[in-house]
């Protein structure tokens, strides 16, 4: 062992050698942190490392998957039957709604061509499974089992059945990391569906509440209002539900009302998400929709 034996060298005593090594590694760490936060030089190294280390992420998730598999095995027949019935009913309802939707979509595009505005293209989706959830209150992130080889790109919107869930932050070959709308550093531009009022919806590190910022005291907003994405900012597609208003507190002393909202999706319960593929965004690539960066 090169460090443990003092007799190998008079000068390099173990203590001295470990001090030198310590200083060396500390400088290395600081350089790495600087390069990683201030520049993009480490991008290729990081993607190489992440591909190498992806087995660890998948392995660390085995207990969770086993747990859900076991609970799946032990459901009894009646539960299954009632679940199937419920799903069939829901499916029937959905199908009837979709019939109406296709008609409406056609009508909408016809009207849009009449008005000579760009039509909303029908969007493709990728279905991704959530392989791990970061419960750290300071960073609400999920890891998805689809990566760049499946066509996932940074900035892509995440949908669940009830609305917008978040956006893809980083992609690697086999998996990608997405940030949820409840992350304290995340903001969604939204619009009140009833009145058209625009505002910003901020996460605060809690799964059940979001803050609606910069809404003046005199604005028209009520408890129960649906907030949909406004499409401003170019990240999220327009018109998807995000949250419902939970409480409105008009405080005359402050310029803005204090409004909290509740995400329409149960963010801590979902298992799969849909990734919306927007060909335009994809072509623009990393120049416009570059990797999401914390300030």
């Amino acid at each position: 062992m090169k460090v443990g034996n003092p007799e190998t060298s008079n000068f390099f005593t173990p203590d001295f050698a470990s001090s030198v090594r310590f200083v060396f590694f500390m400088i290395l760490c600081i350089v790495l942190m600087f390069l990683d936060t201030q520049t993009e030089r480490l991008a290729t190294t990081k993607s190489f490392l992440s591909n190498m280390l992806s087995p660890i992420i998948f392995a660390a998730n085995i207990p969770n998957q086993l747990g859900s598999a076991v609970s799946f095995q032990f459901q009894n027949r009646e539960d299954y039957q009632s679940r199937i019935d419920e799903l069939e009913r829901e499916n029937f309802l959905m199908r009837s709604r979709v019939q109406r939707l296709t008609a409406l979509e056609a009508e909408n595009s016809r009207l849009r061509t009449l008005m000579q505005s760009s039509a909303d293209v029908v969007q493709n989706v990728i279905i991704a499974e959530i392989i791990s959830v970061n419960f750290d209150p300071y960073r609400h992130q999920i890891t998805l089992n689809r990566g760049s080889k499946d066509g996932v790109y940074p900035g892509q919107s995440l949908l669940a059945d009830d609305g917008i869930v978040g956006q893809v932050e980083k992609t690697f070959r086999n998996y990608s990391i997405a940030v949820l709308i409840t992350d304290p550093s995340h903001t969604v531009p939204v619009q009140v569906n009833r009145s058209g009022l625009r505002a910003l919806l901020k996460g605060k590190g809690k799964f059940k509440t979001l803050d609606l910022d910069t809404v003046p005291n005199y604005e028209d907003i009520k408890v129960g209002d649906l907030l949909v994405t406004s499409g401003l900012g170019g990240r999220f597609p327009r018109g998807y539900p995000v949250a419902t208003v939970l409480s409105v507190d008009f405080n005359p002393a402050s310029p803005f009302a204090r409004i909290t909202a509740k995400p329409t999706t149960l963010l801590d319960r979902m298992r799969e998400v849909l990734l919306v593929v927007d060909e335009q965004d994809k072509e623009l690539g990393s120049s416009l929709i570059g990797p999401f960066k914390t300030p």
Binding site: G4, R21, F25, L32, M33, T37, L53, N61, P184, D268
Partner: protein, 156 residues
């Protein structure tokens, strides 16, 4: 080489660190891999040391999607201090060791979140300090396990 059992132990500890703990436990869970490195820093300095602490920090940075070097900095400091004072640490009984290690983890947590804040990630509360409690409780177990491995495989 009789290093394989120790590396397996480290790998297991890393898996525990990466595992998505339920939200009730997330703050109490101690840094397992750091504790394993701490044991070897005390009982066989030179066998596993600063290099391992650095590499484990990088692995955790990658798997937890953190800034490269973030975990390594605090892991290196703890390992270095323990290597420097390993002779004292060996004399102490296990409960006293766990108090000292827990105090070090307190320092590590504060440094870790201080760097997080300066990188733009804002903590809202002081719950992260609960990691000290987890360390206090788990150190005897880590000590027991690692000393079994050490005696079993004659690592000195």
């Amino acid at each position: 080489m009789n290093r394989i059992p120790v590396y397996l132990l480290l790998l297991f500890a890393i898996l525990l660190d990466v595992f998505a703990w339920p939200s009730l436990l997330v703050h109490i869970v101690p840094p397992f891999a750091l504790l394993i490195v701490a044991y070897w820093a005390i009982h066989a300095p030179g066998y596993l040391g600063l290099g391992t602490a650095f590499i484990i920090g990088i692995v955790l940075d990658m798997t937890l999607d953190d800034v490269l070097g973030h975990h390594s900095v605090s892991y290196l400091i703890i390992t270095y201090v323990l290597i420097k004072m390993h002779r004292q640490m060996r004399i102490y009984p296990v409960w006293q060791q766990s108090i000292i290690i827990a105090m070090m983890i307190l320092g590590e947590r504060v440094l870790f979140y201080w760097i997080s804040v300066s990188l733009g990630r804002i903590p809202y509360d002081l719950w992260f300090l609960l990691g000290v409690v987890g360390t206090l409780l788990i150190w005897p177990l880590v000590f027991w396990l690692c000393s079994k491995v050490q005696r079993g495989f004659q690592i000195y």
